[in-house]
């Protein structure tokens, strides 16, 4: 087999390349943490006024761990778990509501030209407005629980809506023809061809929507209001208390949760497309 040594070499190269990437990645992260520690020490030794804003990596790690174990500074009987759960519950509701409205609306707008022409101007009018612009009004009208949910709703709604409309319009016409020659009428074409066809598009909308929704919740919770909860709220509160180590720890939590939510969305997307035979 003349090809096999070349193939082997290729595999070997790929493995070495992966290791090299991992090592290089670790190097850059280590350099970052070391410089962070150095700057932090330098600022506190030199008595700089910036020092409180730059706690060292160790104290941030310490705050991170203790925020999950003990109640956080500024709030009695509250741990990071409580913050996370109240944020996730809001994202969940905002997401669910957005899905329940965007999916049927997208199907309708994608299927009927009249509805598309009627809906489009409205969509294009509201879509460019950042969801966060609604924060003051939503918080006053819907209060601290439903207000942020409304913001998440707006963030999730448009990606799902637009992707579903796009999906319906991009249904493979040949599949529709095939279904018709097999005896399918309009309604059957819709349920057995259009609906399954849009699933991958819908999943893209969900993935993008979850990312946007998570960004929205953090910002929407940051408003200093009575009885606030959630990770976004605690970013603001800990800073107000001067506990910047906890502020950074919360930022770390938010980053990790963001990775987690997109990871879950990607996993669901893969599962669904494999289940549907569309890899």
């Amino acid at each position: 087999m003349p090809g096999s040594p070349a193939v082997l070499a290729k595999v070997k190269n790929a493995v070495t390349a992966n290791w090299a990437r991992l090592v290089l990645g670790l190097v850059s992260v280590s350099i970052f943490i070391a410089s962070w520690a150095l700057i932090s020490v330098y600022l506190s030794e030199s008595g700089s006024s910036l020092s409180p804003y730059v706690p060292g990596p160790l104290s941030v790690a310490d705050a991170f761990v203790s925020s999950f174990v003990d109640s956080v500074p500024g709030l009695a009987d509250t741990t990071m778990w409580d913050m996370i759960s109240s944020s996730l519950i809001r994202v969940f509701w905002g997401f669910l509501l957005a899905m329940l409205v965007a999916l049927p609306m997208g199907l309708a707008m994608g299927s009927f030209r009249v509805l598309d022409s009627m809906g489009k101007p409205l969509v294009e009018m509201f879509r460019p407005i950042p969801p966060l612009a609604w924060v003051p009004i939503f918080l006053m009208v819907f209060k601290s629980f439903w207000g942020p949910i409304g913001i998440v709703f707006l963030g999730v709604f448009f990606p799902i809506l637009l992707n579903v409309i796009f999906g319906v319009k991009n249904v493979d016409q040949r599949l529709v023809d095939a279904a018709r020659t097999l005896g399918a009428k309009r309604m059957t074409v819709f349920t057995k061809v259009v609906m399954p066809s849009i699933v991958p598009y819908m999943m893209t909308g969900i993935k993008v929507g979850l990312g946007v929704g998570w960004m929205c919740i953090v910002a929407a919770e940051m408003m200093p209001i009575q009885g606030g909860t959630g990770v976004g709220y605690y970013i603001w509160l800990s800073a107000d208390y001067g506990r910047y180590d906890f502020t950074y720890a919360t930022m770390l939590v938010i980053g990790l949760l963001s990775i987690l939510t997109t990871g879950v969305a990607e996993m669901i997307e893969k599962r669904v497309s494999r289940w549907m035979g569309m890899r």
Partner: protein, 266 residues
């Protein structure tokens, strides 16, 4: 028994089709007449763009005719229906359905109970030679196997007519030859009427009872050439080559006309 071999299955009279896009008006078909007998295998052959596929789509009910009449067993065609099965060039399989569930699509929407559906699809899977691939998805199959699914799916509805739109056009030469033999085997086992669109002279002479050569646009039937050869046909036999020559001569003339038209529009 009504063993009348000449009873008409498809009857087309004065068929015309005009496509209008914006201000452009393209006359695709004009005054096309043709008959296909019950159980007959007819190939529709013509230069590309002559409207072969359009004829098929009108018979299938996927496209309305602009004028003329299309009767299938005496009944006018108004919309698509399961009695006219269609096999597509690009297979058009449902990618999210397994082989079996693709084949059962027509039965499913007619409400055939699951047990019966399974029995029918199993028979068809045997017939088209897909045993062992029942639970595979289309993207796991080769082109030839995908088209076997396409054929089985169309047959599941027990159509009286099988409309085939260049079904082997996207397959490689070897697979194509194999699929032609397979199709003839399936055809003799099921006794369907087949209307088969192709632009390959070789394919038409190998398969058809009669070849209908179409004119360049606007398309109509230029010549009906019977193929009196026994099956299985030998591509290298003198008779085969003779028929091939006749068809090719007809087609070449149309091809030249089409080219001349392209070079000097109107």
């Amino acid at each position: 028994m009504d063993g009348d071999a000449m009873s008409v299955c498809i009857e087309i009279r004065g068929l015309s089709k005009v496509f209008t896009t914006g201000k452009r008006r393209v006359v695709a078909l004009e005054g096309l007449d043709m008959d296909v007998a019950d159980g007959e295998f007819v190939c529709l052959l013509g230069p590309s763009g002559c409207g072969k596929t359009t004829v098929l789509r009108i018979v299938a009910g996927l496209e309305p005719a602009t004028g003329g009449s299309v009767l299938v067993h005496g009944k006018g065609v108004s919309s698509a229906g399961p009695e006219r099965g269609m096999v597509f060039q690009e297979f058009a399989l449902f990618p999210w359905r397994t082989v079996r569930r693709n084949i059962e699509f027509g039965l499913e929407i007619r409400g055939v109970p699951e047990g019966k559906r399974r029995a029918i699809s199993s028979d068809l899977i045997d017939l088209v030679g897909l045993k062992g691939f029942e639970d595979a998805h289309p993207d796991e199959l080769s082109g030839g196997m995908r088209q076997r699914v396409g054929i089985a799916r169309a047959l599941a509805n027990e159509p009286t007519v099988l409309l085939m739109d260049e079904p082997f056009g996207s397959l490689d030469a070897q697979t194509r030859n194999l699929m032609q033999k397979e199709l003839l085997r399936i055809w003799s086992a099921t006794k369907k009427t087949v209307l088969f669109v192709t632009h390959s002279v070789d394919e038409a002479v190998f398969l058809a009872d009669r070849i209908m050569v179409m004119t360049a646009r606007p398309g109509k039937i230029r010549e009906v050439i019977p193929v009196p050869l026994k099956r299985p046909r030998d591509r290298t036999s003198a008779e085969f080559i003779a028929v091939r020559g006749t068809v090719l001569a007809e087609l070449d003339e149309e091809f030249e006309k089409a080219r001349a038209k392209e070079l000097s529009p109107d």
